[in-house]
Amino acid sequence: MNDIGEPREPPPEPIAVVKGEPLSVAPDDLFIPPDALEVFLEAFEGPLDLLLYLIKRQNIDILDIPVASITHQYVRYIEMMNVLRMELAAEYLVMAAMLTEIKSRFLLPRPVDTEEEDDPHAELVRRLQEYECFKKASEALDVMPRSERDIFEVNVGTETIKVERKEPDVDLKEVVIAFREVLRRAEQVSHHHIQREPLSVRERMANILDRLQSVAQLPFSDLFNRKEGRQGAVVSLLAILELCKDGLIEITQSEPLTALHVRPLTS
């Protein structure tokens, strides 16, 4: 709801009086077909717009158009909307009340010092002028050249352009932090056992599996590299045992005392 000004009294009684009467008894000059009225209402952007229309319509002779007349016409429109039970924005009613108050002020003798209280009439004039400024500005905006209607951008084929896709960068620290987070969570959630073989064993496990991808089996001894020394041999042995335990490979021997072979567990 829009606050249209200072608090006002509720709409005065004329509305209530007309409301009571059936539509057929409305004075002839007030009769407007209901659908026309709807169109009429849609044509306005609110009470200021309607008021502006009523004023502008009669600018033939300025002196002949007093506030009383405008107010009267405005209130009659509003009454009609009510008679027709048309949905009317509350702002229209507030404006009717304001106009009626202004009218009544004019009827009363003017106080000596008008400066003291705020003058609703002057305020209304100011608001009408302000509204008209922006109404004109919006009309000007509507005729300005604009995209989609007057301005068309140039489109040129870009099929000839080759674009390389860039991959995201990752810092090793981020990987470590991520794993740390995993460990912490694993500990919180359950007592899931994360095995802690040295990484060299884990790496060797992966390598052995990889080598077994291309061949059906490998001699057990091929999995040991003399150059790696004792430590390397331990790593390999642990890796093989770990893989066996995980059910990823099996160690075979065709006959007792013959060479051992390692092969992936495949059915």
């Binding site: 004023i55 002196l63 140039v154 870009t158």
Partner: protein, 197 residues
Amino acid sequence: MDIKEIIEATLFAADRPLSITQLQNIFGDMERPERPELVSALTAIANDYQERPIQLQEVASGYRFQIREELSPWVSKLFEERPPKFSRALLETLAIIAYQQPLTRGDIEQIRGVSVSTNIIRTLLDREWVRVVGHKEVPGRPAVYATTRQFLDYFNLKSLDELPPLPSISEVEDVAELMQAPMDAAGPGEQNDEIPS
């Protein structure tokens, strides 16, 4: 490859206006032209297209090639969809934001004398013509709206300065005169209540 050619090609390839900085970033660190060099290349390009049906235009967010307006009657035939028509309510709201920004929805409603529908505000935000630039420190902390660069681009403007000047109050003075008139005349029912067509 010379700078002018690269810039020209880039402007053609872009589907949005490009700022000087964006144009500079097309170049590698070693070959990046300075601003003045770029500006003079842009001027030269604009000159080259003087006689053609397209033109290089500067708008708020940068430079773009566009079809000369005289040709839009033909060019618009390409597009089956009719250009959107904007309601008076939307245009009034947009105009008020453009001229009075930054302001709240309440401020807009005060000027228009009616409430502003949420739909209108949403359309303006969706179109990216208007954005929320802050919140007013009053109860409810209402959003404060302002127009965007996209708004200027859409209306083919470089800055808000290029908007037509807001009609001054003196131009709409007759309202005051009309309302000022004395009380005497005009009883009820004298005028015909015509319906505007």
